[in-house]
């Protein structure tokens, strides 16, 4: 039943501390801005926790927080990112994503229409990905104690395969596949934040990755390891995997796709695209005899249509990543000492 409210909702309404009090304002916030986007059996329960049906097989559980600034960037927003980021963490175990939680930390003064747009986007992203938002929480902090809106999501997925997908399964000879061009998310956020304009569109690659991963597994590809490329970019992800597997990776720079706008923006700002964040790209380590088949499967999924083989795992046990560049020289890739760009996800 709709409780009568003496204050009409206006288009320019903003979040107030009372919206986090647990009282009537909180209820209205949930009812008008949050529940409508998660219309499923669990939000109808409006209970402190969601009771889920038994999940068959092994269960995967992960969590991630999202603090990107600005909240809206070319190609996406914090809401989509919060759904896809956690979905992708589940997908990198080879899991089918099932349920998400959503915790919001709102800053006093956040325009309600911003919240509404973010929540609508989360709802669309969840629906498109086939995950259900089943539980959540909302807190409001004083003006100046947050940056508009922070989101935490946790996710549960189920494993429908028997493989162990982990760095220690990376084998000499494995082919390293990359699911598309790199560096778009970091540069799109950067361009928006700094008001920079470049030739050509610079859109975030923000997207869910479970579909190509499940397609690989369903086709019987013996996937050894998967990793999504987020903060720190391709280079950081591969350095971590080289260390985790005690293996040496050899990469061919010419096979790593980078679009002209990303290259241009990186040149201008002195950034290395290998270290720029992505939100819709991953690397897959697969046995060499299945590499072509795996590549063909990835290329059939729109989100990984530009997949390429970018290198191989060597027999050496030196835990390092060697890049052979366009002019035929080699260099070792290492971790970045700090963030190239702060608060991009």
């Amino acid at each position: 039943m709709h409780t009568e409210c003496p204050i009409p909702v206006s288009a320019d309404e903003t979040v107030r501390l009372g919206h986090g009090s647990g009282g009537e304002l909180s209820q209205r916030l949930l009812r008008e801005y949050i529940y409508p986007h998660f219309d499923n059996a669990w939000t109808v329960q409006a209970h402190d926790s969601a009771t889920l049906p038994r999940i068959g097989g092994r269960t995967v559980f992960t969590t991630d927080s999202f603090v990107v600034s600005p909240l809206f960037f070319p190609g996406g927003n914090i809401g989509e990112l919060a759904v896809y980021g956690t979905v992708n963490d589940l997908a990198m175990s080879g899991a089918r994503p099932l349920y998400l939680s959503c915790s919001l930390i709102l800053e006093e003064g956040l325009p309600m229409k911003t919240l509404a747009a973010v929540m609508a986007s989360m709802g669309r992203a969840a629906a498109a990905t086939g995950v259900q938002l089943v539980t959540g929480d909302t807190k409001v902090v004083e003006k100046g104690k947050g940056d508009g809106l922070f989101i935490n999501t946790a996710g549960i997925g189920s494993l429908e395969h028997v493989l162990s997908i982990a760095p220690d399964r990376i084998q000499p000879g494995d082919s390293i596949l990359l699911s598309g061009d790199i560096g778009r998310h970091g540069m799109a956020v950067m361009a928006r934040r700094e008001g920079l304009e470049f030739d050509g569109p610079l859109l975030s690659d923000c997207a869910p990755l479970h579909e190509p991963v499940l397609a690989l597994l369903e086709a019987g590809i013996n996937v050894h390891c998967l990793r999504d490329l987020t903060r720190g970019g391709l280079a950081t992800a591969l350095v971590e995997l080289a260390e985790g597997s005690r293996r040496q990776f050899s990469l061919r720079e010419n096979d790593i796709a980078i679009t002209e706008p990303v290259l241009g923006a990186c040149e201008m700002l002195g950034l290395d695209p290998l270290y720029v964040a992505n939100e819709g790209r991953f690397v897959a380590f697969v046995p060499p005899h299945q590499a072509q088949q795996a590549l063909a499967i990835l290329q059939k999924c729109p989100v990984s249509a530009d997949s390429r083989a970018i290198g191989t795992v060597s027999a050496s046990e030196a835990a390092e990543v060697i890049l052979r560049n366009s002019i035929g020289c080699e260099r070792l890739l290492d971790r970045l000492p700090g963030e190239q760009l702060p608060r991009i996800c």
Binding site: E260, G270, I327, L332, P337
Partner: protein, 367 residues
């Protein structure tokens, strides 16, 4: 950025490298002056393409590296003031002062903003009329015209809350200091293409003559740098000491006269302290008397009081071509990019950071 690809093509690069191998008959030490060139050399692994007789040493052309400890300490003091918004290029935030760095000030609540151009800082000043907005104006002849432009615009807009902490350096006096230093090993120079795009290269002719060193104005792409080395080595092998221009697509002999004009309008030439090297006569820029009100050091009554640099950093010897980053006992140990002892480990144009970040087999084995 399509135009970059042609300067990174393997066949073209290999052709020039083969020509260098063909002409070289004995050891030569060549200094690339600019940190951007150092970065490209190490990033692309260009030393791997050169014959072993050619040693590239890395010059002082990284503004983050040469900004004096005293100026860093002044920046930290100014940025710590509650009435100040301090705008800086990102790299400067991690340069260690006598006591901490600007990032420490930021973490303690200082309002420090990373900008990419002085005009962004100017906008911050317009948007925050009740705050003092200070721009950390560091750089060589390349960035100085934009900083001069910010001063001119601030004058036009009658901005009273905008000032610059100026740490500006000039390249030719530094080359002269390196040539005339006792024990100098440098036999030829790759001059910084961007600096020459502003200033032209007439200033280098007397240096080449007096110190008997070939100077080649050189760009920043792999092909540029190898061509620069080739033009330098050919002269060295023939005993010629001319100023040549490899970077003709961006540089002409007289440079950018408009930029020079605004530089002269706003700045005076002055002696300048280079971190790790010391004071070099007439090697810096300071605001002219009529723009002195934009001088942040003066506005905030900064004293000249930093003590000696006790970090153990050998940056001065590296930037004069006397030692390499791997020669430093602290390289990769006590001094790492996340915990730098000295500025060359901070900036992407710093030789130490470039060596650390773009290790290849040879530099990795060295530490």
């Amino acid at each position: 950025m399509k135009f970059l690809h042609e300067y990174r093509q393997r066949e073209a690069v290999e052709k020039i490298a083969a020509e260098i191998h063909r002409v070289v008959t004995r050891p030569w030490t060549i200094m690339e002056v600019c940190g951007g060139q150092t970065h490209a050399i190490v990033k692309f692994g260009l030393q791997q393409l050169l014959p072993p007789q050619i040693e590239l040493v890395h010059g002082p052309g990284c503004p983050v590296c040469v900004t004096s400890l005293e100026i860093i300490d002044q920046a930290i003091a100014i940025a710590s003031r509650p009435d100040v918004i301090f705008c800086s290029f990102g790299d400067m935030l991690r340069v260690p002062g006598s006591n901490g760095d600007l990032l420490t000030v930021k973490a303690a609540g200082g309002d420090i903003r990373t900008v990419y151009s002085p005009l962004q800082a100017l906008k911050v000043a317009e948007d925050n009329p009740h705050k003092e907005v200070v721009f950390f104006a560091i750089g060589f002849e390349t960035t100085a015209p934009a900083h001069a432009m910010a001063v001119v615009l601030a004058t036009k807009k009658r901005l009273r809350n905008f000032s610059l902490l100026v740490s500006h350096f000039l390249v030719p006096p530094a080359i002269e200091a390196i040539c005339s230093a006792p024990g100098s090993r440098v036999q030829g120079f790759l001059a910084a293409g961007h600096v020459c795009a502003i200033m032209g290269y007439e200033q280098y002719r007397p240096l080449a003559r007096e110190y008997r060193v070939p100077i080649v104005v050189t760009g920043f792409e792999p092909l540029d740098i190898l061509e620069g080395v080739l033009l330098c080595v050919r002269q060295l092998e023939q005993g010629i000491c001319l100023v040549l221009n490899q970077y003709a697509r961006a540089v002409d002999r007289n440079g950018n006269l408009n930029a020079q004009e605004i530089l002269e309008l706003v700045f005076d030439i002055d002696d300048q302290a280079w971190r790790g090297v010391g004071s070099i006569a007439a090697s810096g820029l300071r605001l002219r008397a009529e723009f002195a009100r934009f001088d942040a050091g003066r506005r905030f009554g900064m004293a000249h009081s930093s003590g000696p640099d006790r970090s153990g950093c050998i940056s001065g010897r590296i930037m004069q071509g006397l030692q390499k980053p791997c020669d430093c006992p602290h390289f990769g140990g006590r001094c790492r990019p996340e915990q730098p002892l000295g500025a060359p480990m901070v900036s992407s144009e710093g030789a130490c950071a470039a060596y650390y970040r773009y290790r290849n087999r040879s530099t990795a084995d060295a530490h």
